[in-house]
Amino acid sequence: MNEISIAVSGINAVDNPGPGVGVVRSIKEDKSLQVKVSGLAYDAMEPGIYLDWLMDRSFVMPYPSSAGADYLARLLYIKETAGLDVVIPTLDAELPFYIKNERELAGHGINTFLPDKEQFDLRSKEHLTDVADKIGLSVPPTEVVTSHSELTAALDRVGFPAMIKGIFYKAYRVHNHLEAESAFHKIVNEWGYPVLVQKIVQGDEINVIGVGDGAGESLGNMAIKKLWITDLGKIWTGVTIDNEPVNRATELFLKKYSWRGAFEIECIAAGDKIYLIEINPRFPAWVYFATGAGINLPARLLRAALGLPFERDSTYKPGRLYIRYTYDMVTDADTFQKIITRGES
């Protein structure tokens, strides 16, 4: 097989890690693929830049919220200098650019494997109730508010503790009116209205990782329970599970929405009820868990993006344990200097 050049973002393997390093590690473990990887970074300090056993090259990118033309030009530069057959964006904020420019990128020979705009919008927390209904899950009691007085009234009904959430981004756990007002204003200032007030459901955090083929079927999916999370709410240890209602909901999600690309479904299991909390239109940061359990989703997605044959098997053993760990490395300043002065290494 010819060498494939790919670019992967989210290589910020920090305390709130992006999924990029796990994606690259997975792809490099598929020995039937010969892959050269460019890491896409937004800061010279992103650890992935320095993991030279994973990244062949690294490039600093303009922010995706900046002019699309600058971002596109940077990708075309990467194609010219390092080669670029497939981009795997892993950060929420990048996805609108890639979805909007999918055809243009393909015209330049840069392939992606992403949901379309309509599918992407399903992750909006406004749509979650509808999605949950269609896939047999519940949603915690939620109110949509657009003013301070509505916030107070909603909190009186929902009670404390509660989650104050933006439609797409940000969520704060609040325990009293003062905290709720502060969270409300932070979200409104950053993301505008409306804001959601959601009852906190106590239970086990169950998540599903998967890739949809765009025609209602799965390229593989796996369910886990989070055993331990950090103060930032990020998984530190987890275990694979085989939960029939969650498996059925995943299957329905793929069938009803013909989802294309990577996804993460976040749920809370409380007694007999399973609540849908969030749908993420990308790989989660714990993506390597699935690879380690035998389902290499990033490699399958890469193959799908290139039109190559891929496996669909979702067989894994419940009880496989995931443990994240920290690691220290020391290097000379050469790579850092190059990234700072040239924007690439």
């Binding site: 086990d204 169950i206 886990i224 329970k225 055993l227 987890g238 275990v239 694979t240 599970i241 085989d242 939960n243 029939e244 299991a269 007694g271 419940p318 009880g319």
Partner: protein, 81 residues
């Protein structure tokens, strides 16, 4: 019973529920009770087996069995009587 049949047990009393990801530890008697339940034995059969397997008097065995079944019900692992 269905839930019990899917539980993974090891010799040292570690019990893993693959549906929920929850895990528990239990002593030898608890482990034996789960194994007998998985085999489809009823309470009376389990009690007789416990008396055969362990140096334990009937009252203690009965109390342990009732307590343990109640624990299993709390964790939604057992719905029988």
């Amino acid at each position: 019973m269905n839930k019990l049949s899917s539980l993974a047990l090891n010799e040292e009393g570690f019990v893993f529920d693959p549906t929920t990801g929850n895990s528990f530890t239990t002593n030898d008697i608890g482990l034996s009770i789960i194994r007998y339940l998985k085999e489809g034995k009823d309470s009376e059969e389990i009690l007789r087996s416990l008396l055969d397997d362990f140096e334990i008097d009937s009252d203690t065995a009965q109390r342990d069995l009732i307590d343990f079944l109640a624990q299993l019900r709390v964790y939604r692992l057992f719905e029988g009587s």
